[in-house]
């Protein structure tokens, strides 16, 4: 009981203190760019309810999910092919290294040429940035499949779908999740940027509108919402990962204790 209490105090203590400091320090602030936290929170309640949720927040999240899923499927599929065949890997490696090194946001203007400024462009941009971490981590994961397991699977005649599902995907899954985690943060960045560039709705668009209209408390509330969204999505992915990789974390924990 006391330990649980201590945990809660430790988890919430500092955030509460920081929040209080922000509240008190900004309470009498007359500076335009750092309005009182009270004002920001009021603006948050006013802005991000009802209409705005369905008009701006939802489209953003849907685009992010669409782009992220496309990238996950493509990245894993291509990663398994490239990881399984040595020659394919050797031939594609320099090109992949280069494409990965291109900072994803510079693709926004390039993809705008092809796909205009609609939803397709945004999904495309998000997918094209997210695909690299997934792809490269999958390649590494497939390469690192335990040779003993691989030989065993071969000896038992596991081939095709069974081999893919039970050997390759499973062995590579910890690495794939690492890739997905990296991809998620890139995805959020690209979601915001593609909306800042050209859009008629979405979170990034709304925040830039507020900033241009000097609606500073509203702008701050948008920044808070983006932070909250980033946090929630990463928690969600962690939950999925913990379920999907329960066997792996268990294995590691048991190895660590002699």
């Amino acid at each position: 009981m006391r330990r649980a209490l201590a945990q809660v105090v430790f988890a919430l203590g500092l955030p509460a203190v920081l929040f209080a400091v922000w509240w008190v320090a900004s309470d009498t602030s007359t500076q335009v760019y750092s309005p009182p936290l009270r004002t920001i929170l009021t603006a948050f309640g006013d802005v991000w309810t009802g209409d705005r949720i369905s008009a701006d927040v939802l489209p953003s999240i849907l685009r992010l999910l669409a782009g992220f899923s496309v990238a996950a499927v493509l990245g894993v599929a291509a990663g398994i092919v490239i990881g399984s065949y040595r020659r394919v890997r050797a031939a594609t490696e320099p090109v992949l290294e280069f494409l990965r090194a291109v900072p994803p946001p510079v693709l926004v203007p390039v993809i705008m040429l092809f796909a205009g400024i609609g939803d397709t462009m945004k999904i495309f941009v998000i997918a094209s940035g997210c695909v690299w971490p997934v792809l490269l981590n999958t390649v590494e994961g497939v390469r690192a499949v335990d040779p003993v397991l691989s030989e065993t699977a071969r000896a038992y005649g596991l081939r095709g779908g069974v081999r893919l599902r039970h050997l390759l995907l499973r062995s590579a899954s910890p690495q794939i999740f690492t890739g997905l985690r990296q991809a998620l943060s890139i995805g959020i960045i690209l979601m915001v940027i593609s909306e800042m560039f050209a859009a008629s709705n979405g979170l990034g668009f709304a925040i830039v509108q507020f900033q241009r209209g000097f609606a500073i408390p509203e702008m701050w509330s948008g920044i808070l919402l983006l932070g909250l969204l980033g946090f929630l999505l990463s928690v969600l992915l962690q939950l999925v990962e913990r379920r999907a990789l329960a066997w792996y974390h268990g294995l590691r924990a048991s190895r660590r204790q002699p």
Binding site: A11, R100, A101, V106, I193, I223, G227, G230
Partner: protein, 275 residues
């Protein structure tokens, strides 16, 4: 993850040696194929050359860029934003990480805050940066430092946690001072993690530096790309994108080289060299 690497038979090792040049040739062939594809696809009209200019035109635009002094200024601006931001983030991250991990109470108290602040996308700060600093270098720095700081801090925290209790307790029983313990026990354990953090942060810092320039318009390669895009200078835009990619490649390779040199004594690097 696994510590038991399979022992290689001499035959397998010999094959690895002979396959080195073959791999390099395949890689070059792949690269040439990619370039040829970009040359042929627009020429055959599969994709309009207005959207994707053939390789030769991009190369021409790249040559023009290289002859333009304004390009080198932009490159210098981008590199300044990147390196100064990365430096600030590294100093802050290592300092904060060392302090936090040195005091157990502090580590527990900050854990939730770090986990909360870390996933906040740094691009959310773009409007704020615009208001505070306009299209100044400081706008770029704000984003770069925020994004790179967490990468390093979290790695330092992981690294300090990973200290083997046996050497730690040995050092304690020999009566080493706190400073000596940090120097001889904690630091060598944490350094590989710090290096990983710096390597990750170097790429992230470049992405954010270019992004800030692209979106905010602070001087640099990103701003040049934005200008090329609005003035419909498509080949120039592709040429600049290629430059940012090459820059990213140099940063990746450079960070790896630095890591390898700094950790030459460490098992992970020595293992890599032996293979």
């Amino acid at each position: 993850m696994t510590t038991d690497t399979p022992t290689k038979t001499p035959a397998a090792r010999g094959r690895g040696v002979r396959q080195g040049p073959v791999d390099a040739a395949l890689g070059l062939a792949g690269l040439a194929g990619f370039l040829a594809l970009v040359e042929v696809v627009p020429r055959t009209g599969l994709v309009s050359p207005d959207y994707l200019p053939p390789t030769s035109r991009i190369a021409g635009a790249l040559a023009d860029e290289l002859a333009d002094p304004a390009f080198w200024t932009a490159l210098g601006d981008t590199l300044t934003g990147w390196s100064v931001g990365l430096l600030i983030a590294t100093v802050l991250g290592v300092a904060a990480g060392t302090v936090i991990s040195g005091v157990p109470y502090l580590r527990r108290a900050t854990a939730s805050t770090v986990e909360f602040l870390r996933p906040i996308p740094s691009v959310a700060l773009i409007p704020l940066a615009v208001l505070l600093y306009g299209t100044d270098l400081r706008s770029t720095l704000l984003l770069v430092v925020y994004a790179a700081f967490w990468q390093i801090l979290v790695q330092v925290l992981y690294g300090a946690q990973d200290v083997d209790p046996v050497p730690d307790e040995t050092a304690r029983s020999y009566g080493l001072s706190a400073r000596a313990r940090i120097r001889h026990v904690v630091w060598p354990t944490a350094l590989p993690y710090v290096m990983t953090g710096v390597r990750l942060a170097a790429s992230v810092a470049l992405i954010l530096a270019v992004t800030a320039e692209l979106v905010i318009g602070s001087p640099g390669l990103g701003a040049r790309i934005a200008v090329a895009q609005t003035s419909q200078a498509v080949p120039e835009m592709y040429a600049l994108v290629v430059v940012t990619g090459l820059l990213g490649l140099v940063v990746n390779v450079g960070a790896r080289a630095v890591e390898r040199r700094a950790l030459a004594w460490h098992q992970s690097v020595r293992g890599e060299v032996a293979v």
